[in-house]
Amino acid sequence: MKFIIDDIEVIFPYKFLYKEQLEYMQALKQTLDEKGHGILEMPTGTGKTVSLLAFILAYLAQRPNTIKKLIYCTRTVVEMEKTLEEVRLVLKARKAEGLNDNFTAVGLSSRRNLCINPDVVNQKDRVDSECRKRTAEWVKRGQGETCIFYDNFEKSAKEFINNLPNDVYSLSDLRKNGGYSMQCPYYTAREMVKKANIVVYNYLYLIDPGISSLLSKDYIKESVVVFDEAHNIDDVCIEAYTVRLNKPILAEAINNLKIVETQIQSETNEIQNRLNEEYKKLIKNLEKKPEGELNQLVIPGQIRKARNFIDFMKRVINSLRKKLKDNSEALKTSHAILHHTKSFTEEIQKEGNLDIDSLKQCGERLNLLLNTLQISETDKFRPLSTVAQFVMFLVQYQEGFKVIFQSNNYEGTLNEKLMTLACFDSSLAMKNIFASFQSVILTSGTMSPIDIYPKILDFRPVVAKSIDIELTRNSIQPIIVTMSEDGTELTSEFTFRNNEDVSRNYGNFLLELSENVPDGLIVFMPSYSRMEEWARQWQKDKYLEQISKNKVLLIESKDVNETSQKLQQYRKCCDVGRGAALFSIARGKIAEGIDFEGHYGRCVAVIGFPALNSKDTLILERCKFLEEKFKITKNDFIEFDAMRQTCQCLGRVLRGKQDYGIMIMADKRFAQKSKLQKMPRWIYKQLDQSRCLNITSETAITVVRDFFRQMAQPFKIADNSYFTQDTL
């Protein structure tokens, strides 16, 4: 269908346009017109992606001077493929209307997803380095182990890409094309990204400092950047800037250095020549640059020579090692040790006699050296580059970072001491992005409260809007359960951890639910440890046995493969009418990105309040930082984080207007006013305050029964909630 918003003619690929989609596009238009950034919240499953694409493409076509490019960032490869299919749909609809846009859309992913060389692709984790081995600059073409696909690409890349018709190239298309023409799909995609109007790739291509520097040359200021499912973007930003070191990594780094050293010392002429050349080049660079201007390529004298640099790195690693050892002693008595970055830097400098400029440039210098020495197995040298990154961040950024020593509880080996350079400032990664692009749009189903994102990401949006959903019937039913039948409070609070009554009441509630919910039931719990505790208790009280009579019981595990297998089983159980219950973690894989449409998800129950562990040092520090800089209190932040996680879980259940589902929140803390305010409006609106707020589990079951009977009645979407071509 075709319609006009102000002066933009939009072609929409479907016959119906919902009211909220129109509203969304209007908000988008405002953002693009004002050349600013925007935050948009729209309920899940209402066609967010397609309306976004349809509008931006129309804008691209009709205002080529205002914006030139669309960069669409997704979180996973699956979402990326889905988005590209939607692009294809929109472009097809545009073509059917007789518009010839000459748009090219391309998806970019890692070598692992794109490689088609049969020798390389089977190596799983080593694809990257195997590829580099065959394609690096110094590998002689046509000799030994080179990649035939890359050779072809080098020979005829330009022609090939110019000859490609304007179309949508998803990952599978790229692989297929590459197979026909014997061209490397990965490099083709990287080349195409420069020219294409629509680019779809992962968040990290923009956020991660290591990767984004590769692409930043080709940025065009007049681009629109869209972050889809952006509710967790601050976590991604922080994770990208956080570096972890422990004893084995440092030991590996030393080993790496030794290999480099032996290479340098080997007396073959070739290597010596190359080293000399490199040195001369660095000197030359120095001469070229005008004085006083800081440039990345100016390498300080201290580390200009390869041998000096090796010594320098050795000193860095040794001082880090010493620090780790000193602190490990102290860790025996305390939980975690904190250091300010400034004092830590000074101590390291003193220890190893290092100067700041050299520290700043050591990452750059390391890359240069590795290139000169023609070392392509980057994965082997990752420890060394991690160390370089650690010191680089340490020196470069003063605020928002802290060095934390603590026992490693991430990998289960308690004795291993971990040194973390933790980043707390999520605006750091986004600063560049906001500066280098004209419009950045953050969008997701759950971004409430919407005013917190501009604060923690430090930018000023021109549009911040939460768009409501218009439902013909009450197809979602949020329920907040605070008490069990006998009046005891339901809560997952830390102090009630060992209270058997609480876990028994939760078990009883789940049993009742499993009896009354048809098809799929998804249960989210705060953490793995809590789930294990409860499961043990329920096992003892025979709740699990009874639940499994009503539903097939599946439990999410930490292993990704196992979980995806269980998901498959889950879907199958729902398909044959047996019904299934899936126990999962509110912060796990299932909570994000996996949709339970239709009968796969009839009820989501969030059991317990999924708050962050406020005893964890990293989180405590982050809260402190937020309080200092943005005046967001610790409670506020923890509540905000828990609520967005909860709402993300709840949002799994509604995928479209015909769909329906129950959203149960079972913890007394959900009923507090401050939490209710942090709920997205489209969920809060559906919450029947008199009937579903603050009720006992028994009442909740009655509501559930009524709801499912109500929803089984025949139903048609109301005419006034959507537009067709005629009604516009």
């Binding site: 009354n516 048809p518 098809d519 539903k551 398909d575 009418g577």
Partner: protein
């Protein structure tokens, strides 16, 4: 019977109320009702006049839940007798069987019969069990087994009254639903719990209905939808010659054992072929397999020959309704064959219940 009285009373009350407030509206409603009953009547003119219905009642643990008062099973058992009576009345050549779904299996407790007294007697023996494990596939398996003994020209349908939210099958449900489909068995479900995706799919595949009543009253309403035969697309029409016998009715003073249910009876029918004693036509003679029916049953089920849809005439003249013998004023309808006038109430009653025009008769 009490229920029927109730609904009639309600209707009456409504009639009075509507007359007082707005006479015109009342007429409109009646016209609408006539249209509906005519539509139903036209569907019911299907050549398939013989129907076999197997009612399967879920008695597993969930049937004890008290959201329907006093319990789900009790509500089902309360309203089923009235339904069965009406069903047998409107489909004179039809038979009903009863089965219960227990833990992972399904048991027939009464073979096909058309004696409503008998059925009611058996219905009252049904009780909930304490185990979970309703299995749709087991139900279908039993149904196929039961229907294998019936005649091919009859329309066979299943009515499952389920109280569970799942179907826990040891067998492959898809396989058995395919079999039912190829055997032209229509599957209908009344659920107390909401929609189960797979069951909806099965009912749609066999042109059946999936109903989900909200409360007790709606249950009694919705179940009426199964009284008149539904259109079935996948039914293969099989025509075959049927041996029919009209029995002789006898009333005796000494107790006699009937051949069909092996029960002591005092009034019974005698098969014209083999003289065996049966109690409730229509049925298949258990000895000689003759189809024993009463003449009026055939006449009523073949109503399309005698009764057509009445035409609405709006001539503004006063007439006397040939049904209730009261004067009708504004809107009335005429039978095309005997040109008699009827008021709308009688019209609806004739088409939904009697299936015979009093004027023509």
């Amino acid at each position: 019977m009490e229920l029927e009285g109730n609904t009639k009373f309600n209707e009456y009350e409504e009639k009075i109320r509507n007359h007082q407030v707005n006479g015109h509206n009342y007429q409109q409603d009646k016209l609408h009702q006539k249209k509906e009953s005519d539509a139903q009547f036209l569907i019911a003119q299907n050549p398939l006049i013989m129907r076999n219905l197997l009612i399967i009642i879920d008695i597993t643990r969930s049937s004890k839940i008290g959201d329907f008062k006093p319990s789900r099973l009790a509500v089902a058992l309360q309203f089923l007798p009235a339904f069965i009576e009406q069903f047998l009345e409107c489909n004179p050549l039809s038979q009903i069987g009863i089965a219960v779904a227990e833990e992972y299996r399904c048991k027939t407790i009464l073979d096909f019969t058309s004696s409503s007294v008998n059925i009611k007697q058996y219905l009252s023996t049904i009780h909930s069990i304490n185990e979970a494990g309703f299995s749709m596939a087991a139900c279908l398996q039993t149904a196929l087994h039961v229907f294998s003994t019936t005649q091919l020209h009859a329309q066979s349908s299943i009515l499952v009254v389920t109280t569970s939210t799942y179907s826990d099958d040891k067998l492959d449900l898809n396989e058995w639903s395919e079999k039912c489909k190829s055997a032209a068995i229509q599957i209908n479900v009344i659920s107390f719990t909401g929609s189960i995706n797979q069951l909806i799919k099965i009912t749609q595949a066999t042109d059946g209905q999936y109903l989900c009543p909200l409360n007790e009253f709606q249950f009694s309403q919705e179940i009426q939808k199964f009284v008149s035969p539904q259109e079935s697309k996948n039914h293969m029409i099989i025509t075959q010659l049927v041996k029919i016998g009209f029995p002789q009715k006898l009333i005796v003073s000494q107790p006699t054992l009937c051949q069909c249910h092996l029960e002591i009876v005092y009034n019974f029918y005698k098969c014209p072929v083999c003289y065996s004693k049966v109690c409730s036509p229509p049925l298949l003679c258990p000895i000689c397999s003759t189809w024993i029916v009463l003449p009026h049953q055939i006449l009523r089920s073949d109503g399309s020959n005698t009764l057509g849809v009445f035409e609405i005439t709006n001539d503004g003249l006063d007439h006397v309704c040939s049904g209730c013998l009261e004067p009708t004023t504004v809107i009335h309808s005429t039978c095309e064959r005997c040109k008699n006038f009827f008021c709308l109430d009688c019209d609806i009653l004739i088409h939904s219940k009697f299936k015979v025009c009093p004027g023509c008769a």
